[in-house]
């Protein structure tokens, strides 16, 4: 399926904005369900580690919610008290993360860095530096997958759990990822400059929409309308 990269960018950006802006659980749940299904179908095989990282991060979100959230006690198991705020907080953050993950999976599965670069700078008129950064993130995401898998293996070799559970273990997984990612970002930027990126001239072109683009934009409009409707007519979801 070929989708115009600019349309994908608009779709992904809109999902991201909605993930940050929406607070209604029902709206978030509907959007997450639609987009996570699409995202997993399109990029689930390609980005397995990302899905695994997402699943593991939910454990962290739950622990965090249990410790810090207030509200009415819903369940008491020994010293552990599950409060209404914890359930609500966990659901809200998890759904927001699901939307962000969906946006990433859909976006990165349906375009390539060069197509995206050309489309963003010439069709949407974004500055070439910004367009390059966005397109580069697609390439880095694939390498990030590889790095993550490798680091998890090596953790076992160092006598640690491949999948981190505690905050300290998370730090030990994220530190090498960030360190390697930053180094890579810096040198790919240098290499791009040495291959004439600053001399790159942009010719503006019009966006050509095909049926897949129209369908995706229609879906986006429907999702925005749905989110607005639920915002204006909130469903009564309570954990009391």
């Amino acid at each position: 399926m070929r989708v115009n990269p600019s349309v994908l960018f608009i779709y992904g950006l809109s999902l991201t904005i909605m993930a940050f802006a929406l607070r209604e659980l029902s709206a978030l749940a509907v959007l997450a369900l639609i987009n996570l299904t699409m995202g997993v179908l399109l990029g689930g095989r390609k980005y397995r580690s990302l899905l695994l990282a997402f699943a593991v991060s939910l454990i962290g979100v739950w622990v965090n919610a249990l410790v810090f959230a207030g509200g009415e006690p819903l369940l008491t198991v020994g010293p552990l008290v599950v409060r209404s705020g914890a359930v609500k907080g966990f659901l809200e953050v998890s759904l927001k993360l699901s939307l962000l993950l969906s946006a990433t999976l859909i976006f990165s599965s349906l375009t390539s860095p060069r197509d995206l670069l050309k489309s963003l700078e010439s069709e949407l008129g974004l500055p070439k530096q910004l367009s390059f950064m966005v397109s580069l993130s697609l390439r880095l995401l694939r390498i990030f997958e590889k790095d993550l898998a490798e680091i998890q293996l090596i953790r076992r070799s160092r006598g640690l759990r491949p999948i981190p559970l505690t905050p300290g273990e998370w730090a030990s997984l994220i530190s090498p990822l960030l360190s390697i990612g930053l180094e890579r970002g810096k040198w790919v930027g240098v290499a791009a400059e040495l291959r004439g990126f600053s001399l790159r001239k942009i010719e503006r072109t019009r966006i050509n929409l095909h049926s897949a683009d129209v369908a995706l934009l229609a879906l986006l409009v429907a999702e925005i309308v749905l989110a607005l409707y639920i915002h204006l007519n909130p469903l009564d979801v309570s954990f009391k």
Partner: protein, 474 residues
């Protein structure tokens, strides 16, 4: 002169020069080969020359640089550098920005507004033997193919100057031979070429001039250069124990159901207290084999025993006592945010007293205990990972390309360290393309090829690794 450099000092932070008193004049069509210790400033010199040091990395330069008719230190003229220069960085992972070979080459042509970019890109992919893989995901290319892609994207715009930073790093002998062949072609085309290399022998016949960077300065002339050429480091191959440490029986492996087999019913065994070099082409499965031995991957069929146990069934700590795997990329190895944390973890796991372990550390590591391991240079990271391996005391040590990026003196230290491990009765398994490992330290050599692991005599292994390159550098 095509390149004139007169630099009093240069570096990343004012007052802390990495390079001093650099004076160089290079004529058009000349090939300059630069050697020097790890971390001496060879890459910094290349960044200085291209203006990257001052224009992109916020470094400083006191002096002048002339690159053909432009001054790369001038921010306005810096943007013209790509028209004159093609550069291949040491690590292809740090250079490739696009997802397919054709996109990578087109990116350069589109930047420089070449007419008919597709035609030209295809021509260059053909030249570098990549046309059939033009649309393939770059992550599916072998190391040699990625290096060729970097060469294609660095030369597709016909630059006058080609800069190659460690072009043979991590390449198998066939990949090295290809790179040498392409460099010869470019020299014949009259290009000016600057090469930095830890194994300068490969390019010696092509070089018009040789230089070294040491003590922060560039010294041209053969008298400085000789000591960086490969020399015999031979360590006596001592007798080994008869006890088996690793044994594979009819072992098969593949990564997924649909993936091709990497190993098919292969068998081999390794003894305790021996240094075993595992060689083979890029992508043949050396690293995979290292990971299977290290209990990080599970064989599909057959079995692999590590001191009588199946390693992938062992719990992490128990596994660590038996085997440790050191990856080619040292940053993957670290799990703590400070060197102190790394040393503490290793001491704790091996039951040693931290203060006593610290006393035995190299002085430079002691001085940087509070630093993050990720702030170290590549060579330092490698050295720290080896230090941690010593602390852990695992009985089998698997080292993936341990000599990559190390100068000859560090290679010598590495071999001495391997010898110490061997004397302690530990099995050292080295996954490598480096013929020096085979010649100078290995007791036995296994070759991974055609889904099988088989043994080669040392002399046959030396010939296996040297022949492809010798043919080209003659």
């Amino acid at each position: 002169m095509s390149i004139v450099v007169n630099v009093e000092e240069a570096g990343y932070i004012k007052g802390r020069p990495v390079l001093r008193d650099i004076n160089l004049e290079l004529g058009e069509g000349e090939v300059l080969l630069i050697a020097g210790p790890t971390g001496s400033g060879k890459s910094t010199f290349l960044l200085l020359l291209t203006g990257v040091l001052t224009n992109l990395l916020y470094g400083y330069v006191k002096g002048t640089v002339k690159l053909f008719d432009i001054n790369p230190l001038d921010p306005l003229e810096f943007s013209l550098v790509p028209k004159y220069v093609g550069i291949v960085l040491q690590s292809h992972e740090l250079q490739i920005a696009m997802q397919t070979p054709i996109d990578e080459v087109l990116f350069v042509l589109e930047n420089l507004k070449y007419p008919k970019p597709m035609e030209r890109a295809r021509l260059y992919l053909l030249r570098y033997g990549l046309l059939s893989k033009a649309g393939e995901d770059v992550e599916n290319l072998s190391g040699g193919e990625k290096k060729r892609l970097c060469l294609a994207s660095s030369t597709v715009h016909e630059p006058k100057l080609l800069i190659l930073d460690e072009p043979t790093a991590n390449l198998d002998p066939w990949g090295v031979a290809e790179v040498v062949k392409y460099v010869r072609e470019m020299k014949e085309e009259g290009k000016t070429i600057i090469i930095t290399e830890h194994k300068p022998d490969y390019f010696l016949n092509l070089a018009d001039r040789v230089a070294v960077i040491e003590d922060k300065t560039l010294k041209t002339g053969k008298e400085y250069f000789e000591k960086y050429l490969s020399r015999e480091l031979r360590f006596l191959h001592t007798s080994t124990s008869e006890k088996t440490s690793v044994e594979a029986e009819s072992m098969s492996f593949k990564y997924c159901k649909e993936c091709p087999l990497i190993f098919k019913k292969t068998s081999f065994s390794l003894k305790r207290g021996e240094v075993v070099a595992i060689v083979g082409p890029n992508g043949s499965g050396k690293t995979t084999l290292g990971k299977i031995i290290s209990g990080l991957l599970k064989p599909l069929e057959g079995r692999l025993l590590l001191m009588g146990r199946e390693p992938y069934r062992l719990k992490s700590r128990e596994l660590l006592r038996k085997v440790i795997y050191v990856p080619q990329e040292p940053a993957y190895f670290f799990v703590k945010t400070s060197i102190e944390g790394e040393v503490k973890l290793a001491s704790q796991v091996s039951g040693l007293e931290y203060s006593k372990v610290v006393e035995k550390l190299d002085p430079w590591i002691r001085a940087r205990l509070r630093d993050s391991p990720y702030t170290l240079s590549y060579g330092q990271k490698k050295w720290l990972s080896q230090t941690l391996v010593s602390i852990y005391g695992s009985r089998v040590v698997v080292l993936d390309e341990p000599t990559a990026g190390l100068d000859i003196n560090l290679v010598y230290r590495l071999f001495k360290w391997m010898l110490e491990l061997k004397k302690e009765g530990r099995t050292v398994i080295v996954l490598t393309h480096d013929v020096r490992v085979v010649k100078d330290i290995a007791d036995r050599v296994l070759v991974v090829c055609g889904k099988q692991v088989s043994e080669l005599s040392i002399s046959d292994a030396v010939e296996y690794l040297e022949a492809p390159v010798l043919e080209v550098i003659k």
